[in-house]
Symmetry: C2
Subunit: 195 residues, 2 copies
DNA sequence: GTCTATAGCCGGATAGAC
DNA sequence: GTCTATCCGGCTATAGAC
């Protein structure tokens, strides 16, 4: 692995800061300080702040794709793969209680800013939705797979929002148990509606 | 009803702008322009921007309380009252697809800003949670009422986040139908777990 | 590729006339 | 109670030396 370029370092630090402080509240000075370079140097790598945002989103999409691929190969069946997704809520609970879900909060912020990159950011949700739909289809729920995938995604987002608001770890565990129970009920019933 | 004071107008316009553009992205100039006063005049009514935020949150709490009271008296039973809550997602779907849930997005933004008012804003969620718990208790789910109330709140938040991201009206309707189905199943089963 | 210096703008906040 | 004028600081972005 070669030494990371300055550009890569900028994207990496911007990624963290956009998550923890939000896109708009993060200034060039903040990123520069985190990377350890001067503010001026910056514009040699990115023309505008929006360019950094695009790079951060592209980076997150790449990481998401890699993570989904890993879950795909590391798990034996679709049920275990979906569990990997669900357990993110547990594994990242501290971060989620402090800053919410990186994807959901970014999409919401960009929507309010009426920012062109909002569609780009939503693409990350799309990756999860499509991957989950593949797994759910493999479970046997062929015709309603997309709807169920969106439902699972929405559920996890709701958990993230309330976890951030109330900082309640027990709530997260309760909901995760609920999601697991829902997952178990998925292929058996004759008509597994969205609850 | 007396003519609204300038202070009331500021709170009213700030309320809308904080919702549509976010707290940080809304400047004094924006609010002043919306109200039709000069920026300087502003500080006669509020010392700092944070003071306006506090007033906006207090105003939202008051409106929420009034709405919950109205739902309480306008509906015959707890089930119909909960339906009033659920149908907010339909009634406000345009706004939600553009700007998300006013409560959830504000809490998330304030969390990232590490803002002292975040606890205050979470109090609005608390109003909904407690009111929903009362209704669910009246349905017969006495011991798990609070957990189920939080679950319903989370579900609606998840719908709002994904609706904002994907701008998908059919998705909202699907999920609302799912919530209604979940509500119907509430008191009957011997063990209505969180799905 | 990285730096310093600085332009130009806009943010929140203040002072004081009317 | 509302206004104009203004301060100060931080912001994005640029210019140009090294």
């Amino acid at each position: 692995m070669p030494a990371p370029s300055t550009r890569d370092l900028i994207v990496k630090e911007a990624d963290v800061l956009f998550y923890q402080s939000g896109f708009e509240a993060t200034s060039f000075a903040d990123i520069a300080a985190a990377v350890g370079i001067s503010r001026g140097n910056f514009y040699h790598h990115f023309k505008t702040k929006d360019d950094i945002l695009d790079a951060v989103i592209a980076h997150r999409m790449e990481r998401t794709r890699a993570m989904l691929d890993r879950w795909q190969t590391e798990n034996e069946g679709p049920r275990e793969r979906i569990l990997s997704f669900i357990h993110m809520l547990i594994a990242n609970r501290s971060q989620i209680m402090n800053f919410g879900c990186p994807v959901g909060t970014l999409c919401s912020e960009l929507a309010k800013l009426d920012h062109a990159a909002q569609v780009h950011a939503t693409g990350i949700f799309g990756l999860f939705r499509d991957w989950l739909a593949v797994q759910i289809r493999a479970l046997g729920a062929v015709d309603r797979a997309e709807v169920l995938a969106l439902h699972l995604l929405a559920w996890s987002q709701g958990v993230a929002v309330l976890a951030t608001a109330f900082k309640d770890e027990a709530f997260i565990c309760n909901e995760v148990a609920g999601i697991e129970h829902w997952l178990e009920s998925l292929p058996e019933g004759p008509r597994n509606s969205s609850n």
